[in-house]
């Protein structure tokens, strides 16, 4: 490359936003609608669900029948580009660490395929240290975030029901869909043993909310990203309307290398490599807003070293990268003999569960400090790669139409068995709170760079007894529920202390948070309560990085609420010339 030079964009923006997922998309939406000029950088290609989604394709439209690939680990129809590994973009784990890192590279990020589970944090979730002495309290409380939860409920749409639960606050809900058959069975069985089951809370439009987004038509395929925008994706619900204001320049395939600062230590813009031409570009702005994901944003800060910020930007506390945490996860499933030979009908419903179990117990009476919620699955799913795999473990165990059969086999009798067992499976998964700890962290690997020459992250994470005991409790609960509904456990029932009771590796649940946490003390937290860097007042974070902890709730709805809150603060501060 004889003519290597950095191309500087002449236009100066009010804000340069890194990442177009939930956090970055919301920031672009709020700022653009306030009349500010925004440059939105995305490390992956463009993606328009209306055109690019595989919604309503049939199994045979995929040559691999929906099987997973490294490009789409959740299957060939899934709406997310990349995942556990990306060609040319490695990451490493220190000895003894097994963090699994999911990275989306596309407009809208991983909101194109997430479960749309949209749970508000409750009052306790912001103040857990005051309750059990572990971790830290947030510098803000539920009352600070509630107005924003209310606004995004209305702006983006979420279904659910007001149950008056203190730590699972009421919201402004669209009507939920009726439970499916296996969900009625779960509800009956679980309720019978004291485990509550209530309508789920998903950001899917069971009613129309505006003129740009459609109403759900119940194909169960939110994971493919909705062509009529009836579920929340950052691309369709935030970025596209933001661009329609005329105030946003979107740059795709832009992998940001570092945040640039001036001699006063203030952010001036970012430097990025264009993945198409491998050339280096710079774009300048009055503010820089990071929404690249908790770990990518931390990586960016740690790689942004300067004389004023010798160990990385916004890192005088040495906390950037630390307190990294994910939701815990463990699961179990089985078959319900009562559902063998079911009558066929369309029970696709919305994408995901129609009912769930919020945390229902008091941790003071348990041997682990934080709770979990339970997600449910089952029913007549679309047959895809792996469908009815392992029939030899089923058809010899249960009578088929009253007949005892030999396991395995072939022929017309086997075809009868496949039909007989369809739709009788049920599964459940716990998603719990991890205690965020300083000694779980990501840092720059001193030895490895990615294909763009950017130093990569090295992870150091390990679960403690708190999380392991919680997983044990999950398994016991699942086992009880399955038993009381007359189901037989077929997977996830053999875990024990030797494998941490089936506790998934940290990172595997894809709720990364906590690397750039907020706090009032600049010595202990990189950000203040507005997610504004203590060390650099025109630098903000709007993804999971700012989280002090994440309750037992999936984090997207809170990322959206906090991003809106921070973005409104930025608009106010810019208009007052405070930054």
């Amino acid at each position: 490359m004889g003519n290597f030079q950095i191309k500087v964009q002449p236009k100066k923006y009010d804000a340069v936003i890194v990442g177009s997922g939930a956090g970055g998309g919301m920031a672009a939406y709020v700022l653009a609608n306030a009349g500010l000029k925004v440059c939105l950088l995305e490390a992956g290609p463009n993606f328009n669900p209306a055109v690019d989604s595989k919604q309503l394709q049939n199994p045979w439209d995929s040559p691999r029948r929906g099987a997973s690939t490294k490009y789409r680990p959740f299957g060939d129809f899934d709406g997310c580009y990349w995942g556990w590994e990306i060609d040319g973009e490695p990451y490493t784990n220190a000895k003894g660490s097994n963090w699994e890192w999911w990275r989306a590279r596309m407009l809208g990020g991983r909101t194109n395929h997430w479960g749309r589970i949209s749970l508000r944090f409750g009052p306790k979730d912001f103040k857990h240290k005051s309750i059990d002495g572990l971790g830290d309290d947030w510098p803000i409380g539920y009352e600070d975030v509630k107005p924003y939860y209310d606004k995004i409920d209305k702006l983006l749409g979420v279904f659910g029901t007001n149950e008056g639960l203190v730590d699972d606050p009421d919201g402004i809900f669209l009507p939920p869909p009726k439970p499916r058959l296996h969900e009625l069975m779960i509800k009956k069985a679980a309720t019978g043993i004291g485990v509550p089951v209530i309508p789920s809370r998903l950001s899917i439009l069971t009613k129309k909310i505006n003129d740009t987004r459609g109403q759900c038509f119940f194909c169960a395929q939110c994971g493919r990203s909705c062509k009529i925008f009836a579920d929340f994706s950052s691309s369709s619900a935030l970025v596209m309307p933001a661009i329609a204001t005329g105030n946003v320049d979107l740059v795709v395939n832009a992998m940001v290398r570092e945040v640039l600062t001036n001699k006063d230590g203030l952010a001036t813009g970012v430097s990025y490599v264009n993945k198409e031409d491998m050339q280096e570009y710079q774009v300048m702005g009055r503010t820089v807003i990071l929404g690249a994901s908790a770990c990518e944003s931390a990586r960016l800060l740690l790689n942004s070293k300067s004389q004023r910020h010798p160990n990385g930007l916004a890192n005088s506390s040495d906390v950037v990268g630390h307190y990294l945490h994910d939701s815990t996860g463990a699961d179990m499933g089985g078959i319900i003999p009562e559902l063998f030979d079911r009558k066929r009908y369309n029970e696709d419903g919305v994408g995901g569960m129609h009912v769930y179990t919020p945390w229902w117990l008091d941790n003071k009476k348990l041997d682990f400090p934080r709770g979990y919620h339970i997600e449910y699955g089952g029913g007549f799913g679309m047959p895809l790669y792996g469908f009815q795999w392992g029939i030899e473990n089923l058809n010899g165990t249960y009578k088929v139409k009253g007949k005892k059969k030999e396991a395995g086999g072939y022929g017309a009798s086997l075809k009868e068995d496949y039909r007989y067992f369809f739709g009788s499976h049920v599964g459940m998964a716990g998603r719990g709170e991890t205690v965020a700890r300083y000694d779980n962290f990501c840092e720059i690997d001193p030895e490895v760079v990615d294909v763009y020459g950017i130093p990569v992250l090295r992870f150091n994470t390990k679960y403690s007894d708190y999380e392991i005991k919680q997983a044990k409790h999950m398994k016991e609960t699942f086992s009880e529920i399955l038993h009381s509904m007359g189901a037989v456990t077929t997977w996830g029932g053999d875990d024990g202390p030797e494998d941490n009771y089936g506790l998934h590796a940290p990172g595997n649940i894809i709720h990364e948070g906590g690397t750039i946490r907020m706090g009032n003390d600049p010595k202990k937290s990189p950000l203040n309560k507005w997610a504004q860097a203590h060390d650099c007042k025109n630098l903000f974070n709007v993804d999971g990085g700012q989280f002090v902890s994440q309750g037992d709730k999936n984090i997207t709805w809170t990322i959206l609420a906090l991003s809106m809150r921070t973005s409104e603060y930025i608009v106010d501060q810019l208009k007052k010339n405070q930054i």
Partner: protein, 222 residues
């Protein structure tokens, strides 16, 4: 939908704006549940695929893995596992062997177990009947299959054959029931716009279940 608004939203997409226009047309007709903007094919060969995926697909399709003889054997086995019956056609009717050829290249961990299993099967048949499996009589083929198709009663020295047949059964079933013929056979009737109004009444009755007044009041109904 207001056409101007939707166009405005779409412009940024830098892709065809035809899609949303079609969506508007459908909505204008007030069809069931706000019919989706189904994009069959916009002229692009691989709509929505990353360039890396397209290259990968090209690579997988650039060569043939199984020999003609192996494909013949796979076809015979597939039709023994899923024959034509009163409800639906056979595995070969649903082009299952083609699917197996593709998937072992796409999931290369299946290459050795499949090729090795086929070779094992031929060697067994050569020893027993002095012919490869494909060249055996139907009676001999079924005798051989019966030795490996029943995991619990198979003889211990048939274990490798049982494992191969399990894999073959699984690949055949997955290929068949994800084909158009197989989906119809299975009675999966989803993947189409509809209005979910809950479990049908007769099914609720069959299982002795009912929606609560709270559910009926709060849930979306059509």
């Amino acid at each position: 939908m207001d056409r101007r608004k939707s166009l405005k939203v779409m412009v940024l997409g830098s892709v065809s704006t035809g899609v949303l226009l079609d969506a508007c047309k459908t909505e204008d007709k007030k069809t069931v549940a706000g019919k989706p903007a189904v994009v069959k094919n916009t002229g692009e060969k691989h709509p929505g695929l990353m360039k890396e995926e397209v290259a990968d697909l090209k690579e997988v399709n650039s060569y043939t893995y199984f020999t003609l003889h192996e494909m013949t054997t796979i076809g015979i086995l597939a039709d023994i596992i899923i024959p034509k019956d009163g409800v639906s056609g056979s595995a070969t009717d649903a082009k299952v062997p083609d699917f197996i050829e593709f998937i072992v290249k796409d999931k290369p961990e299946n290459k050795v177990p499949m090729r090795g299993g086929l070779q094992w099967l031929d060697m067994q048949c050569l020893n027993r009947y002095q012919n490869s499996f494909a060249e055996c009589t139907t009676k001999q083929q079924m005798e051989m299959v019966d030795a490996i198709a029943w995991p619990k009663k198979a003889k211990p020295d048939m274990k490798q054959g049982v494992n191969f047949f399990n894999l073959m059964r699984n690949l055949t079933a997955t290929g068949f029931y994800t084909s158009e013929i197989g989906i119809k056979d299975m009675g999966y009737v989803g993947n189409t716009p509809n209005q979910w109004n809950g479990v049908p009444d007769d099914v609720l009755k069959q299982y002795g279940l009912a929606y609560t007044p709270k559910e009926l009041k709060e849930c979306v109904s059509f």
